[in-house]
Each structure stands twice: as structure tokens, then as C-alpha cells.
């Protein structure tokens, strides 16, 4: 349970890190390390060189504005989770981060790192996709933005090119008349979810259903968002919630493993779809009421 030997660099400037990464594309970037270090310890991966970016102060920021929330590659899950303005602007961040591992892991792990780890069992890749966020990557060639829809191309695989370091992510603010909810089911608190989902639900001005989008965890190989709006032409009731679960399953690929059978995961997807849409609807109504009375 010890990692294989590697060489180590700890730059204090982003330009140094980018140059080091360009010089050795086989190197790996170390931010929080809460996924990478176990993989190295279990020898599921070996790296020739580790570039530790924890000394690069400019990557450690969280900025919440009316447009949305922008956070750097060293923003820890715990910091983003506790950020009051970020929570006000885009409440999905706080709701989903509550489910990311345990508090102890969140103290070290970074949200950007979790996104580029691109595990479809992770919460934050799905959240970035659901919210229509973007990732900014940098290399010695310059910077570019990658939309979440273009970012996740396979299990643990992203569209980052050789030599590119993820430096920050952005999620837009929750629009007016919208609500959110997030829930998941895991064998143990803080463990990987057997199934989970986040929902963003929009209301029309008179309180009808304008949009329902759901992002699912652990039931596909890459983060997936399903538009369930068409299931709710006449509002939300028991039968439309059942229909939404079935509609979602058409696009999900729950697989069986040692933790849960495929059938059980599908059943969790049905149950959670109804539960989380109901919660998001209540959240949207509460926010609409606040907006109207404010």
C-alpha cells in the first residue's frame, strides 16, 4: 500500500507548473490528492513525476457574483461548501458538496480536482454538467474554456490535452423562479453513491412547470443530464413523477456490481427521481414566494 517512487516538484508560480508539465507530459498534477493518492497507494496508477500545485496561491480563490460562482483549482470542497455567498448565488453547490465523501476528505480535496477526476460516481462532475458550467484550463500555449458538455468524454477521461492544467471552474447563478435539490443513496454515509441525482426545476410566472433537468450519479459511465420537462405538462403529481423515472431510465445505464444489482440501482433511480423532483419543486416555490414578497 505504498506508492511507487516518483520525482516531485512544488512550483509556487503557475507558469513554473505549466513549464514543468509541458516538459514531462507523463507527470501528474497533485492538488488535494484525495482520489489520486489512494490510486497511487493501491498501485492502480503510477506516475513518474508529481507536480504539486498546492503552493500556487493564485489558484486558491472563490468569487461569487450575481453571474455565478468562480473557484480556483485549490478551492477545497470544505471552503466552497461553507461559502455563504456562493451558496446564495448557486445553492446546488452547497447541496451537492454535503454529499462529497466525509468532512475530513473535504478539508483537503478540491472541487476542481474532483471535476477533472471525471468519476461518474462523483458528485461534482455531474453538478458542473447540470448547471452548464465551464472549466478553464491553462498550458504554456495559453488558456481555454471547456464547456461541461464537452469535458467528459469517458470514464475518468476528460478533454484536457497533454500539458493542460485545470485552473478554475465557473457555474452560473441559479436563475429567478428556479429551485434545486440533491440527494443520493449510499451504503454508508460518505461512501460512493449507489445512485444519486441533482435536479434544477424552473417555474413559469404563474407557478407552472417550465423546466425540469436532472443529473444522475453512478448510473452511467460519464456524467449525464436528462431533460424531464415533457413529463410535467400539467404540473407535478404521483403519475407524472413515475413517468419521469421511466423516462430517465431510458437514458441511464445502471450496472450491477458488488454493491448493488442493476435492477436495484434502477429502482433507486425511480425512487430518487420522484423524491428529488418533489424537493426541487418545493424549493422553487419557496424561492418564488421569497422573490414575489421581497
Amino acid at each position: 500500500m505504498k506508492p511507487a517512487a516518483f520525482t516531485f516538484q512544488r512550483p509556487t508560480e503557475l507558469s513554473e507548473a505549466l513549464a514543468a508539465y509541458a516538459a514531462n507530459p507523463g507527470a501528474k498534477i497533485l492538488a488535494g490528492g484525495q482520489s489520486l493518492i489512494p490510486l497511487m497507494s493501491m498501485r492502480l496508477t503510477t506516475v513518474s513525476e508529481l507536480i504539486d500545485i498546492n503552493g500556487i496561491g493564485e489558484l486558491s480563490f472563490i468569487e461569487a457574483s450575481e453571474a455565478g460562482v468562480r473557484f480556483g483549482a485549490l478551492a477545497r470542497h470544505a471552503e466552497l461548501h461553507a461559502h455563504e455567498e456562493a451558496r446564495r448565488v448557486q445553492p446546488m453547490l452547497h447541496a451537492a458538496l454535503s454529499h462529497v465523501a466525509h468532512a475530513t476528505i473535504r478539508n483537503r480535496g478540491t472541487t476542481v480536482g474532483s471535476i477533472v477526476h471525471a468519476d461518474a460516481s462523483g458528485e461534482m462532475p455531474v453538478v458542473l454538467t447540470l448547471l452548464g458550467g465551464t472549466l478553464t484550463v491553462a498550458s504554456t500555449e495559453g488558456r481555454r474554456e471547456i464547456a461541461a458538455d464537452d469535458l467528459f468524454i469517458g470514464p475518468l477521461e476528460t478533454a484536457l490535452e497533454s500539458g493542460e492544467i485545470a485552473v478554475e471552474a465557473f457555474v452560473p447563478a441559479l436563475p429567478a423562479r428556479h429551485g434545486i435539490a440533491f440527494d443520493e443513496i449510499a451504503r454508508r454515509h460518505g461512501d460512493y453513491a449507489l445512485c444519486g441525482l441533482g435536479v434544477v426545476l424552473g417555474l413559469t410566472e404563474d407557478g407552472g412547470i417550465e423546466s425540469v433537468r436532472a443529473g444522475y450519479i453512478s448510473v452511467t459511465e460519464t456524467p449525464i443530464v436528462v431533460d424531464l420537462t415533457e413529463c410535467f405538462p400539467d404540473g407535478i403529481d404521483a403519475s407524472s413523477l413515475v413517468a419521469a423515472g421511466e423516462k430517465a431510465l431510458e437514458q441511464l445505464e445502471p450496472e450491477g456490481d458488488i454493491h448493488a444489482s442493476a435492477e436495484y440501482r434502477a429502482q433507486l433511480a425511480r425512487t430518487l427521481t420522484a423524491r428529488v423532483i418533489t424537493a426541487a419543486h418545493a424549493d422553487a416555490k419557496a424561492r418564488l414566494f421569497q422573490e414575489v414578497t421581497a
Binding site: G33, Q34, L50
Partner: protein, 178 residues
Amino acid sequence: MTMSPTTAEPVETIRLRVNGVTHEAQVPPRRLLSDALRHDLGLTGTHVGCEHGVCGACTILVDGQPMRSCLMFAVSAQDYELTTVEGLTRPDGSLGPVQQAFKDCHGLQCGFCTPGFITTITAGIAENPDPDRAEARDMISGNLCRCTGYQNIVASVLRAAEIQREDAQNGDGEEQGR
């Protein structure tokens, strides 16, 4: 960079600040912080269980925040103030509030997981000085114990918070929870 005499692997000289004392050690980059504490510094209070971040036995405080020492490399830990279970006694060497609470409430049996619980709870009651039972359970949810069934550990959390509040009233709690 020099070579380790035993493994012919390059080593670096690092400085780790642990429990208020600066230590110097020669380690290869792959040395886990948990191993550096135990093997290089001889601080064997920190225990190593699963070594991949699940069990919580190796939890230490990094600038006061609980983190897994098996999920950090020693070379990455040089900028922080580290606190291990050895650093959680009172200044006179007697048991600190969380340690005393575990003794009072029989919060341990074999004791292997205990250092991780002590550090986690120290940070937990610093943040929430008056937890209820549900909050106490949540506080320790990232730590595994295979002996106790957790009942007495939850009781220890509540007792530790009580001792800490008594300390605060008596004005002698400033040294704790660094």
C-alpha cells in the same frame, strides 16, 4: 538531493512542524505523511489502518482541520502546523478534554482507531462546542471503529464538549485544540 542508503532512492530534506516542534527528516517524495510521522519522527500515536482514506485512524489536524495523513505526502506538508494525538494533552501532560472523555465514557476498547477519533473530535467540538447526539454522530461519521459499536464514542463526544465548556468557564482551556 541525496540518495537513501537503504533504497538507493533520491531523498529530500524536509521540515515538518508537529505539535509546536520543528523536525527535520530525509524522505523520498513518496513517503506518506502518516509514515513520516511514525517512522521518521517516531510519533507512533498516529495509527495507520486502511491506508487509502476510508478508516480515519490516521487523521491528524492540519492547521487545525482534520485531514487523513495517509492521503498526504510528507513533502507536501511542510507549510502547515500539524497536530497529532500526542499534541492534544494539557500543557502539564495530563489528558486533554477529548482524551479524558474517552477514559470517562469507556470510548475505546482495543484503541487502534482512537487517535483518529481524538483528533477529529477535537476539531469538531472546537467548531461546535455543544453538539447534540445527531451532530456527534455526524462528527465521527468518517471514522471507523470495529470494537465499540460507537455508542460510547458518541457519549465521549458529548462528554468532551462538556469538559471543554467547563474549561472555558474556568479560563484554562486556551491551550487546547490547537
